[in-house]
């Protein structure tokens, strides 16, 4: 059963009526025609709603609790996966996961944020907010991939890096800066996919890639809409305005040269059909990996540098 978002209330009501009718049907009354009629109406409403989501509505879809996460993509995308752990200095951060995998037979190093999907796992994964040791693990895995000629694929899904005393003491800023630097130094292809929320420096540290993909309803921003609103509008209630003003959607980011490919989502968002979302992402990743295959290390670095030098140019 899908949890509905606030703006999906009319769809939720239709779905509830359909469910009611089905229940009545079990007592012997024929309602097929009514159900079919309502279902058509509900599907149409869903399609229309999702065709014109506002940036703030997309933010809510991107954060939907049932949206697939790193572990679902790993389970669904790859033929095989071997998790790797630890930064070799302090700890194994559960907010940033990674390992070796095969995508349609092709070797990749997959790294990404994991938010968790129930209270226990959310706490375990710290809600996808990476700590310095997480970014340092990412650096280690990228270096490993680079040495053995393995393309790097990252799945970005974080509200941001963790704000905490110990994280600061261990160099949160330094870890993010070095991770971004490591992305830019790779001599192997790197593809980043923003699958949910791309939040600030904690996202860019895993996303300074050759090609940046975004799911249709993913968002990517310098600060959360709530954070931006509370600073510039002095109230978090203006988050919808801030989301609009900051240009955080995949189409906006494609226009600005940050996003290179928009990955279509199933009707009504990835959470309504995770399997279809996974297939869609797999196709996009394969196409991008094909596009970068055969390029020399120097050429990959040159293209990547050029991408970030030219963004925002006039």
């Amino acid at each position: 059963m899908t949890s509905f978002l606030d703006f999906e209330k009319p769809i939720a009501e239709l779905e509830a009526r359909i469910a009611d009718l089905r229940e009545t049907a079990e007592t012997g009354i024929d309602i097929d025609a009514d159900v079919a009629r309502l279902q058509v109406k509900s599907d149409k409403l869903l399609r229309e709603t999702y065709a014109r989501l506002t940036p703030w509505q997309k933010t809510q879809v991107a954060r939907h609790p049932e949206r697939p996460h790193f572990k679902h993509y790993v389970a669904g995308l790859f033929d095989t996966f071997m998790p790797l752990a630890g930064d070799r200095a302090f700890a194994d951060d559960q907010a940033i996961m990674g390992g070796l995998a095969r995508l349609k037979g092709r070797r990749v190093m997959v790294i990404g944020h994991e938010k968790g999907d129930d209270t226990t796992s959310r706490l375990k994964h710290n809600f996808g907010m990476g700590k310095p040791e997480g970014y340092r693990k990412a650096i280690r895995l990228m270096q490993l991939a680079d040495r053995f000629g393995i393309p790097v694929v990252t799945l970005v899904d974080t509200s941001g890096a963790f704000p905490g005393v110990q994280a600061e003491e261990r160099g949160q800023a330094e870890a993010i800066a070095r991770s971004t630097q490591q992305c830019l130094e790779l001599g192997v292809p790197m593809i980043a996919a923003v699958v949910g929320e791309g939040g600030s420096g904690g996202a860019v540290a895993l996303a300074a890639a050759n090609r940046v993909l975004m799911f249709e309803h993913a968002v990517y921003a310098v600060i959360s809409p709530e954070g931006c609103a509370s600073i510039l509008w002095r109230t978090a209630d203006k988050a919808a305005d801030a989301a609009e003003a900051m240009r955080i959607t995949a189409t906006d980011l494609q226009r600005l040269g940050v996003c290179d490919r928009i990955v279509p989502e199933p009707m009504g968002g990835a959470h309504r059909d995770p399997a279809a979302a996974i297939v869609s992402l797999g196709d996009a990743l394969n196409a991008e990996l094909d596009g970068l295959a055969g390029l020399s290390a120097d050429e990959l670095r040159r293209q990547r540098r050029q991408k970030y030098l030219s963004i925002g140019g006039i």
Binding site: A221, R247, G312
Partner: protein, 284 residues
């Protein structure tokens, strides 16, 4: 000259009458009233409590670079308001106001000159310009500073001061993190040093990119340096922050800096450092 003084001097009427405001400086840390002249002669450091007041690019260039050795570099033109952003005010109006107040184009200025006889290109971020925030203008100036350093075979020294990224430029401000990192890679490819001097305050996306990538990391005493804001951390962990948290000396203790250097010692320290790192090229 502090930015405040410069602003006042830009208004001739007030500047010509020597108002008490103009003659005295009140220390933000200890409250002591100091003769403005004495305060500026002391490099805008409080003679009583040693508080390092924030200073802008011109004052910094004057303090760091050898007299008569330097020129400022032109700032590359960038789109002023790429997103047509407005909150309670239009972003274009905020930029105009910042330009009028500081007399600068954006929050980062470069100068090329010598430090104790050693060639250097120096970038200075100005907190008075929209909190020193990093957007297209800062990214372009940083790249320009680095490329001038490469052309002149000199190190690039950045004095950071920023509240973080410039939200009004949205994702484009975030993209200055990889952009400045590419600039640093170009400097490294050219075999030249990149030296960071963190000044109060250096936070957010600036700390999480070019401020933490120095070959050698310096900071001024008591400068606030961090990734996350203190209020954000307090509301996340719901406990009091440790004494001296996110201050330069605290970062030194935690291995994030090479040294905390008094403003008076900066020219000599930087000169000595460049001497060590660039000796081969000097002799060649």
């Amino acid at each position: 000259m502090s930015w405040l003084t410069r602003v006042r001097n830009a208004i001739p009427f007030i500047a010509k009458r020597e108002t008490p405001d103009n003659l005295w400086h009140k220390c933000k840390s200890c409250g002591q009233m100091i003769f403005m002249k004495e305060f500026e002669d002391n490099l805008s450091v409080c003679p009583k409590c040693d508080h390092h007041e924030r200073i802008g690019p011109n004052a910094r260039f004057n303090q760091i670079l050898d007299e008569g050795s330097w020129r400022t570099l032109a700032i590359p033109r960038v789109a002023d308001d790429p997103l047509k952003f407005r909150d309670s005010k239009r972003y274009v109006d905020r930029i105009k106001a910042a330009r009028a107040t500081t007399g600068e184009t954006d929050a980062l200025m470069n100068a090329s000159g010598t430090i104790q006889g050693h060639r250097a290109v120096v970038g200075v971020q100005d907190f008075a310009f929209m909190g020193g925030s990093m957007g297209l203008g800062v990214g372009a100036a940083f790249l320009e500073g680095v490329r001038t350093a490469i052309a002149e075979r000199a190190p690039y020294i950045i004095f950071t001061a920023a509240g973080g990224a410039r939200m009004q430029e949205g994702i484009l401000s975030l993209m200055q993190m990889p952009k400045t990192t590419v600039a640093i890679a170009e400097l490294h490819d050219a075999g030249l040093p990149y030296i960071v001097v963190m000044t109060d305050p250096t936070t957010g996306g600036v700390t999480a990119s070019y401020a933490m990538l120095g070959d050698v990391q310096l900071a001024e005493p008591n400068a606030l340096i961090g990734f996350a804001g203190q209020r954000v951390i307090e509301s996340t962990i719901r406990e009091k922050l440790p004494e001296g948290f996110q201050r330069a000396e605290y970062l030194l203790d935690h291995g994030m800096l090479d040294m905390v250097t008094h403003r008076k010692a900066l020219p000599e320290t930087l000169g000595t450092l460049i001497g060590y790192l660039c000796e081969a090229r000097v002799n060649a």
